[in-house]
């Protein structure tokens, strides 16, 4: 396997996303990246699990084609997975979009099936976020946690355990450390 031309590991898009050539992104047309997001090797993003239940608002047809929406300066570590959650609603099974805001860090081998993740959320390694969990802004989820389905995690919480519980609060001094701009700049082909 030495015959490959000298190419960097990351493909950089016009909006500054750095996507590893070894990521496993399925259903690319249904994924929105806000820009400056890093996707490392072996990350799976399931864009093919689209919403099949008709939208309640008929004018909102375009929303139908987004399965995963990601904001700016997010970082997805090696081997993590983003998967739109699915449930039975009014007798019909459907997946629902997975929305991720800005400055969200996801550690290696974590599996995310949340409905909504706010800004400045730090998710550790080997975390399982259950279906339809809602994580608000400035939350830290420690390594190895299992966030149960439908859990709502309030802002400024530290969460850990199996099943996960709120175990503390984010100190004010930590807030600056949750900005991922520096981390983004450190990733590249150089």
């Amino acid at each position: 396997m030495s015959k490959k031309p000298v190419k960097g590991e990351y493909i950089e898009t016009d909006t500054g996303n750095k996507v590893s050539r070894r990521s496993q992104i399925i259903g690319t047309t249904n994924i929105i990246l806000g820009g400056k997001t890093v996707i490392q090797a072996e990350v799976i993003i399931r864009g093919d699990l689209l919403r099949t239940y008709p939208a309640s608002n008929p004018s909102d047809k375009q929303g139908n084609t987004v399965a995963v929406a990601i904001g700016r300066y997010c970082f997805f570590s090696r081997g993590c997975e983003l998967r739109p959650p699915g449930k039975l609603y009014k007798g019909q099974f459907s997946h629902y979009p997975l929305k991720i805001a800005d400055h969200v860090f996801v550690g290696p081998s974590s599996i995310i099936e949340a409905a909504l993740i706010g800004s400045h959320v730090n998710i550790g390694a080997n975390v399982v976020v259950g279906k339809f969990a809602i994580i608000k802004d400035y939350v830290r989820i420690l390594d190895g946690s299992v966030v149960p389905p439908n859990m709502v995690i309030p802002s400024f919480s530290v969460v850990a355990g199996r099943p996960a519980r709120v175990v503390g609060e984010i100190a004010e001094g930590e807030l600056d450390g949750m900005d991922l701009r520096e981390v983004y700049r450190g990733v590249g082909n150089a």
Binding site: M1, K4, K7, E9, R21, R22, Q24, I26, I44, R46, D48, L49, L50, T52, E81, R83, G86, L88, G91, Q92, F93, S94, H95, S109, I111, E113, N126, V128, G130, G144, V146, R162, P163
Partner: protein, 187 residues
């Protein structure tokens, strides 16, 4: 390490397979090994699911959902009483990253994210193995058992298993529409 995707690498020899006609199997699923792999009707195999029949055969019933990164099949030599390999009965859901080396997985059982089922374990019907839970080698888990948290257990006697089976069937209907199937690649 090659920067190419795994699918473009030279394919390992294909194992013998017996695939039902109504099976949905994604192109990026991987079937390896030398023993027979049987996949039943209406079963859905997500991309990047791994079946390895290097040591013993694998039999999957109908109406099952096998999610990505899950790994089905023995990873070491089978003992004489495990010759029939991994048998997964009907309506079983195996979620992301689960490792299943069980001898039998009973009907309607759900194996959640990153759970590990040890070699030769026997799971009863309508069990639920929670995220990251482990069942040790050779263990027998009775019907309706729920394993959760740090290996805690209880019995689920809510009696809603028929509803759960219906839900799996609905989910399969949707997945069949969303996942392009390519059984020809594995035959």
């Amino acid at each position: 390490m090659s920067s190419k995707r795994a699918s473009t690498m030279p394919a390992p020899p294909k194992p013998p397979t017996s695939l039902a006609s109504s099976l949905t199997i994604a192109e990026h699923a991987s079937l390896t090994g030398t023993h027979l792999i049987t996949l039943g009707s209406n079963t859905v195999v997500h991309p990047r699911a791994k079946f390895s029949s290097a040591h013993a055969p694998i039999t999957v019933g109908s109406n099952c959902i096998i999610c990505e990164r899950s790994s089905i099949g023995f990873q070491s030599e089978a003992s004489p009483n495990e010759r029939q390999g991994v048998v997964i009965q009907n309506d079983v859901v195996i979620e992301v990253g689960a490792v299943v080396e069980a001898k039998t997985v009973g009907e309607g059982t759900v194996i959640e994210v990153q759970a590990k089922i040890g070699k030769g374990a026997v799971l009863g019907k309508h069990c639920k193995i929670g995220p990251q839970c482990e069942i040790v080698e050779g263990e027998t888990v009775p019907d309706f058992t729920v394993v959760y948290g740090n290996g805690m257990r209880r019995l689920d006697n809510s009696g809603v298993e028929d509803l759960k089976l219906k839900m799996v069937a609905r989910q399969i209907e949707v997945l069949k529409r969303l996942i392009p199937s390519n059984p020809a690649k594995f035959q």
